[in-house]
Amino acid sequence: MLERAPSQQQDASTSRPVAFRGAGFTPGGGRVSGWIALVLVIALWQLAGSAGWVNPLFLPPPSAIAVAIYKLAMSGALWQHVSASVVRIGSGWLIGSVLGVITGFAIGLSTLARGVGITFISALFPIPKIALLPLLILWLGIGEEPKIATIALGVFFSTAISVYSGVDAVPRNLIRMAQSFNVPFPAIVARVVWPGALPSILAGFRITASVALLLVVSAEMIGAQFGIGAFVLQAGNLMQTDQLLAGVVILSLFGLAVGKAINVLEARLLHWR
């Protein structure tokens, strides 16, 4: 707010402090406040369930979800579903990431690959990959392959885009510097382009981990006996909302674990930032 001009004549000898105007626009981390808010929401949710304010069929309380997870763990079903999903996510993410990184580097470094690659990526990236699952089932059968291929496709495009964006963002002066010392092309790629593009590549991995989680659940809902997606769908069909939400919580925990793993990777590989 603009300071108003003083309404009365001020004495020339009177001093007054300069008003501080630099507050705000610098949000901090606030980790503690985040945990407190989470605990409060869970407590309120539990209270609403225990007091009968909401029908537990529509929204089971956190305690019921915890019990459901415990029972699933004890029965061994939890590991069966989780391991099936993890294998699909792991395989699909790995295949998609490796191909995406190779393609991204090719697009970032080769004029021909850029011309061809960007055209195809622009045309195919917007397609919801889960829409291709029926076609992939036709091509690859009804086993694990179409689910893994769906995840790999979803991961591939995002990875390729983040990698070639990362390669493009490597400061050209560093590449010119390396060239000025006659450093060979493969060494420039390995020692300048790769580390320079790594922040963008890791940011891409963070996104593709979420994409893989999204696609595994969708794929398992369409055609799987085991897996978190299949479990959630089955629980929903049977109106077992505590189990349904147990599946959702497990997915959330899985996403958090992947996020933490990427944080660790970033801390190790990007410590120079």
Binding site: N173, L174, R176, M177, A178, Q179, S180, F181, N182, V183, P184, A187, R191, V192, P195, G196, L270, W272, R273
Partner: protein, 257 residues
Amino acid sequence: MDLIADHISHRFGALDVLDKVSFTVAAGEVVAIVGPSGCGKSTLLSILGGLLRPSEGRAELRGAPPADSLNPLTFVFQDFALLPWCTVEANVEFPLVHTALSAAQRRAVVDDALRRTGLADFRSAYPKQLSGGMRQRVGIARALAVRPAILLMDEPLSALDSQTRELLMEDFIRLLADGTMGAVYVTHNLEEAVRLADRVVVLSRRPGRVREVVTIPMTRDERGGIDARGQLLTLQNQLWSLIRDEAIDAEREVQHA
């Protein structure tokens, strides 16, 4: 080993940047290139160093480089061009890794370059931990590590504060003192040009042509004395009078662009 600019012309699309620029940098000689903004000084340096292909003319080397030189034409960059993910030591070692030197030889070369630039105590630091002056010292150490015949310096001090500039200028004078290493020194700063160079090539406004070549009639040692200051100032004024009108035009052109 001499470096020769032979009728170098260059254009970016329809924009003529350089027009038949010719001069020779003799072995051990320091040649400064000055001129109004946008006259093609940095473009010329890139062409001389083989980082840009000229539209016409060519850059030539005459004579054999020193036997132990690993990279006869070596750049020192305005923005330092350090690898931010490498320590000082790794940055200096970077141009040596692909050479035939053994690890022990590389280590010795790096140690020598760090000692000559006063960086021995900072070998494990990352570029972000260093001041601008120290970063440029790393750039200089990296250049020295390959034992260049000619340093190609593109406004190496322009990103630094005046005190750091002065300190690094003293370092340059010391490094070039024995005459084993020549340099092409691109600068806007006429004081730097007259303090460091044996000859100053004055380029005209774009497209850059060699307008005049001014010889500095003193050794670098003599320029350090108080008596020389008046003469250096006169030379500086002479250079400024050659550039001033075109510098004003160039500035207006930039502002209207």
